[in-house]
């Protein structure tokens, strides 16, 4: 098991955002976590990525507990998260964004020898090859030299994914990658994510777009009011009466 989430709970005062959630992710899987707005998806992801400490429970990453570790160390260990709304610099190009995200790659490759790049900047060039490769994987070639202010929302979201990929993740946590995208952009996103899976990256995607997750995920987990209400093959989970109730407010037969 690559990632094991054990009885994770997060309370904000009287509000329980995540309640006693446990699940695991194996290498090479695509796991989809879905639930209506406010069901605790993003909080769950932030807990796993170390961006906030859990109230109770823990997270095992490759059998080592990581709760309480600083977020940058979690990212450095290969567990990388994207943002629902991409965090971009309007005045920088797509490629320049990838260079900013090349920190971990450079750190792994050079270690303290990074200091030498202050005197000889040419030593850092190899990271640029990886950036070019990721631009291809994410189908951003056409806009690689355009400013972030000039690209479409779909490309912005893809750039967020591309920046996370620069960190060489073993498990990529995607926070609502399909929200706000058109049908064509979602198709493109699916193709990119399938390519990533084929290349050995494990994916955990949270979204409320049921159709998108149903097509892509190997396994699905349903969340409602912070608690896990279903887990299994996407088709089965989507037919689960509790999940239907959570989404529609009543059973499908009554529609």
């Amino acid at each position: 098991m690559l990632l094991e989430v054990r009885k994770l709970t997060k309370r904000f005062g009287g509000l329980t955002a995540v309640a006693d959630v446990s699940f695991g992710i194996s290498k090479g899987e695509i796991v989809g976590i879905f639930g209506p707005n406010g069901s605790g998806k993003t909080t769950l992801l932030n807990l796993v990525a170390g961006l906030m400490p859990p109230t109770e429970g823990g997270v095992l990453w490759k059998s080592v507990p990581i709760q309480g570790l600083p977020a940058h160390e979690v990212a450095a260990s290969g567990l990388v998260k994207t943002f629902q709304n991409p965090q971009l610099f309007a005045e920088l190009t797509v490629l320049e964004h990838l260079h900013i995200a090349a920190h971990l790659e450079l750190k792994r490759r050079l270690g303290w020898r990074r200091l030498a790049t202050l005197v000889r900047p040419d030593l850092a060039q190899a990271g640029h090859e990886r950036a070019a490769q990721i631009v291809r994987i994410c189908r951003l070639e056409a806009s690689r030299d355009r400013l972030a202010a000039e690209i479409s929302y779909g490309e912005e979201k893809m750039l967020g994914v591309a920046m996370a990929l620069m960190c060489e993740p073993e498990l990529l946590l995607l926070d609502e990658p399909a929200s706000g995208l058109g049908a064509g952009e979602i198709e493109n996103l699916e193709a990119v994510l399938r390519d990533l899976k084929a290349q050995g990256t494990t994916l955990c995607i949270i979204d409320h777009k049921v159709g998108f997750l149903g097509r892509l995920a190997d396994r699905a987990i349903g969340l409602h009011h912070g608690a896990k209400i279903a887990e299994g093959a996407p088709d089965e989970v989507l037919r689960n009466p509790d999940v239907v109730m959570a989404y529609l407010g009543h059973s499908r037969d009554r529609i």
Binding site: P70, H72, T82, F83, Q87, F89, H103, P121, A164
Partner: protein
């Protein structure tokens, strides 16, 4: 374009190096020495403010403390000016590590970071003001010594002109290398958002501290040069006015490039000598210029001109 840039750079360098041969006016050269020193201060401040996104108000303290520390180490340890400067810069670096650690460990940002660094800066100023036996309080200290460099005493305006110009060039070179290295890219990620830095595996605390210490180190070297060029030291070096003056230079010149703050520094240093106003009117005129610049050219003078040239080049 690249060749043109290089050509422009060399032309500017040659012109600045040859300037004292043509310009014999001591007043003009003096204004330029002050401009280059203020430029160093603005460029180093911009490393923390423009590139890492932390509005520090500790810069005047780093600048002023270094002047006193250089003087005290020369007087009590019997070292020369340059060793004194290095010791002062190291002392300021240690202070910066303490102040920075407190601010960044508590994740102070924006307004809160500015206020807490301002409080530390005021603490330093009040200490300097009231520690009469060491700092001579409000009266300040007269500095008679001048630095020696390669067997020459840096005494007249022309030698100070070259010394300050070289110091500014070294500052620009160091800051440019930092900003364009992996460190600069970490600074950028932090400027946008701490959380983005975290998720990209960047140790946000470490890189904020690195920018803060590096900026203050350069401010300290500048403070030491400034005090010995001026020949005196007083608690006003550490004042809020001084900090705000640095902010004004950076906003006027622009904060998106390493070089831009120098433009603001030259303008704000030279302007009072070019246009004579009474002190009251001067404050109003400066304030108006600053407000107007921020409203009309939020990227600063240098940033706006650069953007205009880029647009023209593209079309």
């Amino acid at each position: 374009m690249r060749f043109q840039n290089r050509f422009l750079f060399f032309a500017l360098a040659v012109a600045l190096l040859a300037l004292p041969l043509g310009v014999k006016s001591d007043v003009v050269l003096t204004i330029l020495v002050f401009s280059w020193l203020q430029g160093m201060l603005a460029v180093s401040f911009n490393l923390i403010f423009g590139f890492t996104g932390q509005l520090t108000m500790f810069h005047a303290a780093a600048f002023g403390i270094a002047g006193y520390a250089t003087h005290l180490s020369m007087q009590h340890l019997g070292v020369g000016y340059w060793t004194g400067t290095v010791l002062a810069a190291l002392f300021v670096s240690v202070l910066s590590i303490i102040v920075g650690t407190i601010c960044f460990r508590f994740r102070l940002k924006e307004f809160y970071f500015a206020i807490v660094t301002l409080a530390f800066s005021e603490m330093a100023r009040l200490t300097v003001l009231n520690w009469n036996s060491v700092t001579n309080g409000t009266l300040g200290i007269n500095l008679q010594e001048k630095p020696w460099l390669f067997g020459f005493k840096v005494n007249d305006t022309v030698s100070w002109y070259y010394l300050s110009l070289v110091a500014l060039a070294v500052t620009l070179l160091v800051c440019s290398r930092l900003v364009h290295s992996w460190m600069g890219r970490c600074f950028s990620a932090i400027r946008l958002n701490d959380e983005l830095g975290d998720t990209l595996g960047i140790n946000v605390f470490r890189y904020k501290l690195a920018a803060f210490v590096a900026g203050n180190f350069i401010a300290a070297v500048t403070g030491s040069l400034y005090a010995y060029y001026l020949g005196s030291l007083e608690p006003g070096f550490l004042s809020i006015d001084q900090s705000l003056g640095i902010v004004a230079m950076v906003l006027l010149g622009g904060r998106s490039s390493v070089f831009a703050p120098v433009v603001g520094a030259v303008l704000l240093t030279a302007l009072p000598h070019l246009i004579h106003f009474s002190a009251e009117v001067r404050s109003i005129v400066y304030g108006s210029i600053l407000i107007l610049t921020i409203l009309v050219m939020p990227q600063g003078i240098y940033g706006s001109i650069a953007a205009l040239l880029r647009k023209r080049h593209a079309s």
